[in-house]
């Protein structure tokens, strides 16, 4: 199962996800090229039918009248076939109205059974004389037909049948090139009317639905194509309705317009009708109407004024349940077969038929390939939602252009099949895009997870570093637990896990307390490493020198030796003679400490002796200053984490610290440190501290009373 999935995924992603869509597009092109052999053909023809249903041919006039031999006529005049003289009378009635041409959609292949001469044969000769003198019905009909242009129906037969008779009115002077001629439907034989009727008719036109009839019937029996020109016994004949128009125009020549692929149009007089290569006309059907159907009985009874036929084409046909043939139009109407002739005449007069020239399938192929390639180029580059929109746009454009082409010029362009054929390609593309998006999302999740693990690991290491850093700092309360001459307290809180501040306090000897506070430039790990070095060197070298000046110069030198990162340290280092209160101090670019003496706050005077930060200026000669503390004095060393603590608008500042010092209760320096630290944090009001905070408080209580 997994292997199948992996194989499918690999196939989908081959060629940067474009191989499969290209193959599917090629397959779609092959299907389109052979669409008539696929189920898609049904979809295509029904799409074309839909165009017609959406916009049927408008029928403004009724140039054709059908005189139907319907049930009412059979009731009035007896069973079919009628005597030929009755049909002759019907035609004569029509002729009074002077129609343009009359078409007879009936084949009179054999003699009229009602002919008196035929009846006479069955009677004794004495009684037959009277009958034999009566006029022959076929002759009567022929005489009527001869009076005005009449066109008789013929049916082309694929092979000689008993009773077959070739028609006698081929089209005169028609020029057919071999390509077109080869594509026209051919019939070896035909069924035509009796010779005397043929002779009386002006022309003959075929009424076959075409050799495609069988196939057309199988496709839901819908009549879409009607042949215009066929070869019967190698002679060219028009269909009945077209022959009627030709006769109405005086029986002139017919021109066939041909192209490389075969026929393109047929021209009768000034009327031109586009055709397929084999001469078939794709009829654009109009809505069916009963208006132009007259009953033969009514015409015979003279119920219609003769003028109704004036300047119109009249088709006489059978229109009775049980006798008629019926066809279904693409509009979904069930029509008598004769209606096809009517639609054909109207189409010719309007010179309108559906157009699907031989190049249309190539145009569709081009559109398929262009649309497909556009998708293949665009979809992988876009997000899935845009890809879906792009496909919808391409589909809409194809389907829309099909409709537009029909509305604009009755062109049959099949946009729906193209859209359908693009679907597999698009699905492959979209599938790949979705897989790619999913992969990206998983990658992003994995990276996030990795970075979380990494962050946790780093945090763990930083935590360890913080423990070590904090372990470097002495705990004054514990260190000077039994001390009664002074008390020291300190607080150090890095802004990050580790920081660059430090403080130190130790007894250099019995009498001298060494205090130091420092601030390495910068923050974080680099500063913390340098802090460790500074603190250690400071404490070691301060013990080695009895002179503070020399110690600081030595510290500066030694630190500078191992300072490739070019960091520097501001520091304040002091030595207190705890018996006398004498304070020696060196200031290296650090804030001057404060002293609370009674109610007042003083600053240690560093102006004269202050130098730059340690390591900032090589070989700077630091000098120490000296002052005396009074018993009860509180010395406060601090870093800029205190003075530059910010609440977003203002800094805590030296004044803030001074106010805080002045208000401290009389308690241990350690507790006082924490009180100041709390005041600073309150001032920051929850904002993240900008810098490391360090405080060192020393209270000198004066010399011990010696009893």
């Amino acid at each position: 199962m997994n292997q199948t999935l992996a194989l499918a995924s690999a196939l989908l992603r081959a060629g940067r996800g474009r191989l499969l869509p290209v193959l599917l597009l090629a397959l779609a092109a092959v299907v389109l090229g052979n669409i008539e052999r696929t189920p898609l053909h049904g979809l295509q023809t029904s799409q074309f039918d839909r165009y017609q249903r959406m916009q049927p041919r408008a029928r403004h006039e009724e140039p054709v009248i059908v005189v139907g031999i319907d049930s009412q006529s059979l009731v009035a005049h007896g069973q079919w076939p009628w005597p030929r003289d009755l049909i002759g009378e019907l035609i004569a009635r029509i002729q009074v109205g002077q129609p343009l041409a009359i078409g007879v959609d009936i084949i009179f292949a054999e003699r009229d059974q009602h002919a008196p001469a035929l009846i006479a044969r069955r009677l004794p000769p004495s009684r037959a004389t009277l009958l034999s003198e009566l006029p022959d019905p076929d002759a009567t009909l022929a005489a009527v037909m001869a009076r005005a242009p009449t066109v008789l129906a013929i049916v082309g037969l694929p092979r000689e049948l008993p009773g077959a008779r070739l028609p006698t009115h081929p089209l005169p002077n028609i020029r057919l090139d071999p390509v077109s001629a080869a594509k026209l439907p051919r019939f070896a034989s035909a069924l035509a009317s009796r010779p005397e009727l043929q002779a009386a008719a002006a022309g003959e036109g075929f009424i076959n639905a075409g050799p495609e009839e069988a196939r057309a019937q199988s496709e839901q029996g819908i009549q879409r194509r009607v042949p215009s020109l066929v070869l019967i016994g190698e002679q060219p004949y028009l269909s009945l309705p077209l022959e009627m128009v030709r006769q109405a125009l005086g029986g002139g020549e017919v021109t066939v317009e041909t192209g490389a692929a075969g026929m393109q149009a047929i021209r009768i007089g000034d009327y031109r009708l586009p055709t397929q290569a084999n001469g078939e006309v794709l009829l654009h059907f109009g809505q069916a109407s009963a208006n132009y159907y007259l009953s033969a009985a009514d015409v015979l009874a003279g119920r219609h004024p003769p003028e109704i036929f004036a300047a119109r084409f009249v088709i006489v046909g059978i229109n009775s349940i049980g006798l008629q043939d019926r066809v279904i139009s693409p509009l979904g109407d069930s029509l008598p077969g004769v209606d096809i002739h009517v639609q054909m005449i109207e189409s010719l007069l309007e010179q309108a038929a559906l157009r699907r020239p031989h190049w249309m399938p190539w145009l569709e192929m081009g559109a398929l390939l262009v649309g497909g390639l556009l998708l293949i180029v665009a979809v992988p580059a876009w997000r899935p939602r845009y890809a879906v929109l792009a496909f919808a746009a391409v589909g809409l454009m194809l389907v829309g252009s099909g409709h537009l082409a029909f509305i604009a010029g009755r062109w049959l362009f099949d946009g729906s099949s193209l859209t359908l054929l693009l679907v597999p390609s698009f699905m492959a593309l979209l599938g790949n895009t979705l897989i790619a998006a999913d992969t990206r999302r998983r990658d992003a999740e994995r990276q996030l997870q990795e970075s979380r693990v990494e962050a946790a690991r780093t945090a763990g290491e930083l935590d360890a570093a913080r423990h070590i850093q904090m372990g470097l700092l002495p705990d004054p309360e514990q260190l000077f637990a039994g001390e009664r001459r002074f008390a020291v307290g300190a607080v150090l809180e890095p802004a990050q896990a580790v920081g660059g501040d430090y403080y130190d306090c130790f007894m250099r000897d019995d009498r001298h307390l060494c205090l130091a506070i420092g601030d390495v430039s910068g923050k974080g790990v680099p500063a913390s490493l340098f802090m460790a070095i500074s603190k250690t060197l400071g404490s070691t070298l301060s013990r080695r020198h009895s002179s503070l000046d020399a110690a600081v110069c030595d510290i500066d030198r030694e630190l500078g030796r191992s300072n490739s990162a070019q960091l520097f340290v501001t520091a304040f280092i002091a030595v207190l003679d705890v018996d006398h209160g004498t304070l020696d101090y060196v200031c290296a670019g650090h804030d001057a400490p404060m002293i609370r003496r009674g109610e007042t706050i003083l600053r240690v005077d560093t102006d004269a002796i202050a130098g730059p930060p340690l390591c900032a200026l090589p070989d700077f000669p630091y000098h120490s200053g000296r002052m005396s503390l009074l018993p009860g004095d509180l010395l406060c060393l601090f870093t800029d984490g205190v003075s530059e603590a910010s609440n977003g608008q203002a800094l805590f500042g030296g004044q803030g610290l001074a106010d805080c010092l002045a208000g401290l209760p009389a308690t241990s320096p350690a507790a006082q440190c924490r009180l100041i630290r709390d005041a600073v944090r309150r001032f920051e009001a929850g904002a993240a501290p900008a810098d490391d905070l360090t405080l060192l408080l020393l209270r000198w209580d004066g010399p011990l009373n010696e009893y």
Partner: protein, 131 residues
């Protein structure tokens, strides 16, 4: 797409710090402005680098006009210290002028005027440096 925007935005930020320069009496003056703190120190170093590489013996002295700097942290001071050392190594002249009160206070406390020459204003600096 979002990733691309992030990268673009980051690159934009990295190159955001601009030091507009002008020349006055043969001194190249670069205007620095804003807060020079830990977050911007690296960028400040990068922006200074091309100016510093030209700050050498026989070339125009480099003066940073600090009138627009409202705050400087120890990380910013470190950048100035390194700049000063580089200039000194190249025997060029490097100075700062027109410090705002808060920055002046930082310089006073840290005695950085011993490391980088500071002047009250640009004109005074130009006069001194041009000699």
């Amino acid at each position: 797409m979002a990733y691309l925007a992030l990268v673009v935005a980051r690159n934009y930020c990295l190159t955001m710090m601009k030091l507009p320069t002008r020349e006055q009496s043969g001194v190249l003056i670069a205007e620095v402005s804003g807060r020079i703190d830990h977050t911007i120190a690296e960028e400040f170093t990068r922006a200074l680098a091309p100016l510093l590489s030209n700050c050498a013996l026989g070339r125009a002295p480099l003066l940073l006009d600090f009138s627009g700097v409202i705050y400087i942290s120890s990380a910013g001071l470190r950048v100035l210290m390194m700049a000063s050392r580089q200039a000194k190594a190249q025997q060029g002249s490097f100075a700062i002028a027109a410090l705002t009160p808060l920055v002046q206070e930082v310089f006073t406390i840290s005695r950085f005027n011993l490391i980088v020459p500071c002047y009250a204003n640009v004109d005074a600096a130009c006069q001194a440096l041009a000699q």
